[in-house]
C-alpha cells in the first residue's frame, strides 16, 4: 500500500520537533541541519511550512542520478537512495524543486527522507497533527470530504440568506 506524509500547514505550530526527532532517529544526534524535514518560516508574517521529500512519482532526482542510486519503490511509495551506488555528486540536490535532497556536511553524504521504514518519527511526534502518514488513495478522498463539507455549509447559508433568514455575505 502506498502511503505518504500529508502536510496540513494550518495545524503546524512551528515547534521544529520534527526536525530534531528526524536527526536523532537517523544520526543519533540532535541537529536540524542533518534532518530530512525542515519547517520554513517567515518571521514577520507568522508563516510556517514543513517541507519534506514528496517521494515524487516522476522524480527529478531519479532522472538526474548518473549512478541509478535513486529508485522509486512503487509498493510503499518511496524514493529510495542506495548508498552502495551513490557517489555523492549531488546532482539530485540541484534537481529537486522541494529541497527534499540535502547534503549532510558532518557525514559528507546526501540524505533524504526514507519514511523511517514505515513509521515516520516526524509524524509520530507531531501532536498538533500537521503531519500525517496516510494511505495515498485516501488522501484524495479526505480532501474531497473536507471540500464537500465546506461547500455544503456555504450552500446552506446561501439558501438561508435567500430565504431572508440571515443577511447575505455573513460568514
Amino acid at each position: 500500500m502506498q502511503k505518504m506524509i500529508l502536510v496540513d500547514q494550518d495545524q503546524c505550530t512551528g515547534c521544529r520537533l520534527c526536525e530534531m526527532v528526524c536527526s536523532v532517529k537517523h544520526e543519533g544526534v540532535s541537529n536540524p541541519s542533518r534532518a530530512r524535514i525542515s519547517v520554513r518560516k517567515r518571521f514577520m508574517e507568522g508563516y510556517l511550512m514543513p517541507v519534506v521529500c514528496q517521494q515524487c512519482t516522476d522524480a527529478p532526482c531519479i532522472a538526474v542520478c548518473p549512478m541509478d542510486a535513486l529508485s522509486r519503490d512503487e509498493v510503499v511509495g518511496l524514493v529510495r537512495l542506495d548508498y552502495d551506488l551513490c557517489v555523492g555528486c549531488e546532482e539530485c540536490v540541484t534537481a529537486c524543486p522541494f529541497g527534499g535532497m540535502r547534503i549532510d556536511t558532518v557525514a559528507n553524504r546526501v540524505i533524504k527522507c526514507d519514511l523511517c521504514d514505515g513509521d515516520p518519527q516526524c509524524v509520530r511526534f507531531c501532536f498538533p497533527g500537521a503531519l500525517e502518514f496516510v494511505d495515498a488513495n485516501a488522501v484524495n478522498l479526505r480532501k474531497k470530504r473536507v471540500a464537500a463539507a465546506k461547500l455544503a455549509e456555504f450552500m446552506s447559508r446561501e439558501v438561508a440568506a435567500q430565504a431572508g433568514l440571515i443577511p447575505s455575505g455573513v460568514r
Binding site: 515547534c15 521544529r16 530534531m20 536523532v24 507568522g46 509520530r124 498538533p128
Partner: protein
C-alpha cells in the same frame, strides 16, 4: 554531547574573547541554565557594583537539556545583577535562541565590561565575534531581528533589546521572536548599558544524544501524556489567558492596582475573543503545548497575548477592551518592555493620579483615569522612550517613588523593588509566601504552587509533595489556609529551579497540573539525553544548592528577612469583590510570619533568612566564591 557545550566569555571593553570548557564537577553541582548562571554571577561580580556599570556581567544561557528530547527544551535564561532591584537578576524565556546557541557549541555566554559603540555578538559553530551594530541601534525588537535575518539568513536566532533597553528603562526586556520575552529583572537595560544590541546564534553542530532510541521512546511517552491532559489542551487553545476567566470570577486578580480583586464587566477581555483575531497557535522549540496565538490587530501581526498582557492592559488599568490588550502586548514587546512591570507601574501611576498624589501637571495633561485606553497606550510609549512622566516610571517602583515622594511607595505592590503579577494573593497564603520570598522580587515563577488553587485532596498532595524528599508535616486542601504551605512553596522553588537548570519550560512541570514533570522525569531526561547520572534526590540537592547561591547573592547585597515581606496593604485592606469565600479577606500578619519562620527552618536558614553554616556545608557552598570557572 550536551556536556561538551562551552562557556564563552566576551570582554566588551577590551574586545577579548575566551572560550572555556565547563568542568564536569560544575555540571554535577549546578547542571546548567539558571543554576550555573547563578554560580557564574556570584563568582564574577563584586558586592555593591552598579548594575548598569561595566562591572556587572550579563550571562546568557541554555539549559543542559537544551535542544534534546526532554519535552520542551527551548528555554533561554539570562542573569545579571538586576538594575531594577539590586538583587539577583534572572529571566527566562522560550523561543528558539537557546537551542540554536547549543547547536553553535555554547551553553553559556558571559558578557563583561562595556562597549563604546553599539555591537552585536555573533555566535556561530564554535566561534564568537563582536560586530558593529550601529545600523541596528534605535530599531524595535522585531525590526532588529528582521534586519539580522536578512543579513545573515533566516535560520539565525536573535536575542535582542528594543529602544527601552537602549534607554535603560529599568524593566526593559530581551526578546527572541515576536513574543518570547525575558522581561523580569530588567536585563534588557543591562545589555543596553553594555551597548549590546543583540546576540545572534547560528549552529550546525551535533548535540549527541547519549541513548537515542531510549530517549525517543521516553520523550514520546512524556509528550503523549502531557498533550493528553486537560491543562495542555486548554493552554494549546487559549494560552495562559484561560487563567483569567476562572481567577477573575473567583476574585483573585489584582485590579486597579490593588483596590479590587476582580474586574467587573470583564467579559470583553475573556480569552475566547482571541478567536476573532487569531490564525493559529505557535509553539516554542519542541513544545506540544503551543500556548501563543498568531494574531493580527490593526493590520499588525504579533503573537501572544498572555495572562500578564491581559492584566497589564485590562484589569490593572481598568480597561475591558480586547484590542487594547492586543495592541498593548504588541507595543511592549515591540519596544522591549517587561509587560508585567509596565502594567503594574501604569496601574500604580493611575492610583496616584486618582488620589491626587500626581496631577495633570506631572503627566503633561495625560488623563491617567481608569479605563482610558488611549492614555494607557500613550504611557507605554512614554515609558519606553522616557518621555514625560514615563521617564520617572521607567525607574521602577523604588526609584520612581523616591522621585514622586508623598508616601507614594506604600501604594506600590512590589517586593524587593519588583512589581507583582496582576494577581491578588490576599486570599491565598501559599501564593503570598511565594511572591514575598522570591529571590528576584515579587514573582510567580520562582515558587508559585499553582496547583494549590485546585483544592486537591490531601492524599494527592502527599503523593506530589513527598517526592523525592519526605515531608513529615500536614497539608491543607484549602487554599485559604496556612498549613503545609511553607513546604509547598519550598517544593515548587526546587521544582522550578531544577527545570530552569535543565532548560525546560515550567508549563511542562508540576506548576498548573499535578501530573506533569517532576524530579524523577528530570533525572531520566538527564540520563537518556546527556548521560548525566543524578537521582531525583540529587536533582533536588542541585536545585537547593542553586537556590542558596541566589540567596547568598542577595544577602551579600544587603537583602534579608525585612525584604521577604509584602506591602502592608495585603494585611490591612480586605478584598472587596469575588466569591464569598474570598471576599473580605486579608493576610494574617502573625500567621504569615509564622509561615515565613517555617519556610526558613525548612531551608536550614536562621530567623533572619541567612543559611546556617551546616546548610552551606551540606550543599558544598561553604567556600563560595570558589572560582572554578
Amino acid at each position: 554531547m550536551s556536556l561538551n557545550r562551552k562557556l564563552g566569555i566576551v570582554d566588551l571593553s577590551t574586545g577579548e574573547i575566551e572560550i572555556k570548557p565547563i568542568p564536569i564537577e560544575l555540571r554535577k553541582k549546578f547542571i546548567g541554565g539558571r543554576g550555573l548562571d547563578m554560580y557564574l554571577l556570584y563568582n564574577h561580580t563584586e558586592p555593591g557594583i552598579d548594575a548598569l556599570g561595566p562591572d556587572n556581567v550579563a550571562i546568557i544561557s541554555a539549559g543542559l537539556l537544551s535542544a534534546t528530547l526532554s519535552s520542551a527544551s527551548a528555554r533561554t535564561h539570562v542573569a545579571a545583577k538586576s538594575p531594577l532591584t539590586g538583587a539577583v537578576g534572572s529571566t527566562n524565556m522560550g523561543g528558539f535562541f537557546a537551542p540554536e546557541m547549543t547547536w553553535a557549541g555554547f551553553h553559556h555566554l558571559m558578557l563583561k565590561g562595556q562597549a563604546e559603540e553599539p555591537v552585536y555578538i555573533w555566535v556561530n559553530d564554535g566561534g564568537i565575534e563582536i560586530r558593529d551594530a550601529s545600523h541596528l541601534w534605535g530599531l524595535s525588537t522585531r525590526d532588529t531581528q528582521n534586519t539580522l535575518q536578512e543579513e545573515l539568513g533566516p535560520e539565525v536566532q536573535v536575542l535582542c533589546i528594543g529602544p527601552a533597553g537602549e534607554n535603560l528603562v529599568r524593566y526593559a526586556n530581551v526578546m527572541n521572536g515576536m513574543k518570547n520575552a525575558g522581561g523580569r529583572s530588567g536585563l534588557g537595560a543591562v545589555l543596553g548599558s553594555k551597548k549590546v544590541k543583540a546576540v545572534v546564534a547560528r549552529g550546525t553542530m551535533d548535540v549527541e544524544i547519549r541513548y537515542p532510541e531510549e530517549a525517543l521512546e521516553y520523550d514520546y511517552e512524556v509528550m503523549k501524556h502531557i498533550s493528553g491532559t486537560k491543562f495542555a489542551q486548554i493552554m494549546g487553545k487559549y494560552g495562559t489567558m484561560f487563567i483569567q476567566s476562572v481567577t477573575n470570577s473567583t476574585g483573585l486578580v489584582r485590579t486597579q492596582n490593588f483596590q479590587y480583586n476582580q474586574l467587573l464587566d470583564a467579559e470583553p477581555i475573556e480569552c475566547e475573543h482571541i478567536e476573532d483575531y487569531t490564525f493559529g497557535t505557535v509553539g516554542c522549540f519542541g513544545c506540544v503545548i503551543h500556548c501563543r496565538h498568531r494574531y493580527i490587530v490593526d493590520g499588525i501581526y504579533d503573537e501572544g497575548p498572555e495572562y500578564a498582557a491581559q492584566g497589564a492592559f485590562g484589569w490593572e488599568v481598568g480597561c475591558n477592551d480586547f484590542e487594547t490588550v492586543l495592541m498593548g502586548n504588541h507595543l511592549a514587546n515591540h519596544w522591549g518592555l517587561d509587560i508585567l512591570e509596565t502594567g503594574s507601574m501604569m496601574a500604580w501611576a493611575m492610583e496616584l493620579y486618582e488620589k491626587g498624589i500626581i496631577t495633570d501637571e506631572d503627566t503633561d495633561g495625560l488623563k491617567l483615569e481608569w479605563g482610558n485606553t488611549e492614555a494607557v497606550l500613550e504611557l507605554v510609549r512614554q515609558i519606553a522612550f522616557r518621555r514625560g512622566i514615563g521617564d520617572i516610571l521607567a525607574e521602577g517602583p523604588k526609584r520612581a517613588a523616591a522621585k514622586i515622594g508623598k508616601d507614594s511607595l506604600k501604594y506600590n505592590i512590589h517586593v524587593k523593588g519588583m512589581s507583582n503579577l496582576h494577581s491578588d494573593e490576599r486570599p491565598t497564603p501559599a501564593l503570598a509566601l511565594g511572591i514575598a520570598t522570591g529571590t528576584r522580587g515579587s514573582d510567580h515563577l520562582r515558587s508559585r504552587p499553582g496547583i494549590d488553587l485546585y483544592n486537591l485532596p490531601v492524599p494527592v498532595l502527599e503523593k506530589v509533595y513527598n517526592n523525592p524528599v519526605e515531608y513529615k508535616g500536614t497539608y491543607s486542601s484549602d487554599y485559604r489556609e496556612y498549613e503545609g504551605k511553607a513546604w509547598q512553596v519550598f517544593w515548587h522553588e526546587m521544582m522550578y529551579m531544577a527545570i530552569d537548570c535543565a532548560g525546560v519550560c515550567k508549563y511542562h512541570c508540576t506548576f498548573l497540573s499535578p501530573s506533569l514533570i517532576n524530579f524523577e522525569h528530570i533525572s531520566k531526561f538527564l540520563h537518556y539525553n546527556a548521560g548525566l547520572e543524578l537521582s531525583p534526590r540529587e536533582v533536588w540537592d542541585v536545585a537547593e544548592r542553586c537556590y542558596n547561591i541566589e540567596r547568598i547573592f542577595n544577602l551579600r547585597e544587603g537583602f534579608d528577612r525585612k525584604d521577604d515581606m509584602l506591602s502592608d496593604r495585603y494585611f490591612d485592606e480586605p478584598t472587596r469583590r469575588g466569591l464569598a469565600i474570598v471576599r473580605g479577606r486579608t493576610l494574617d500578619r502573625a500567621k504569615f510570619n509564622g509561615m515565613l519562620d517555617e519556610y526558613y527552618e525548612l531551608h536550614g536558614w536562621d530567623r533572619n533568612g541567612v543559611p546556617n553554616q551546616e546548610t552551606l556545608e551540606r550543599l558544598g557552598l561553604d567556600h563560595e566564591p570558589s572560582h572554578l570557572i
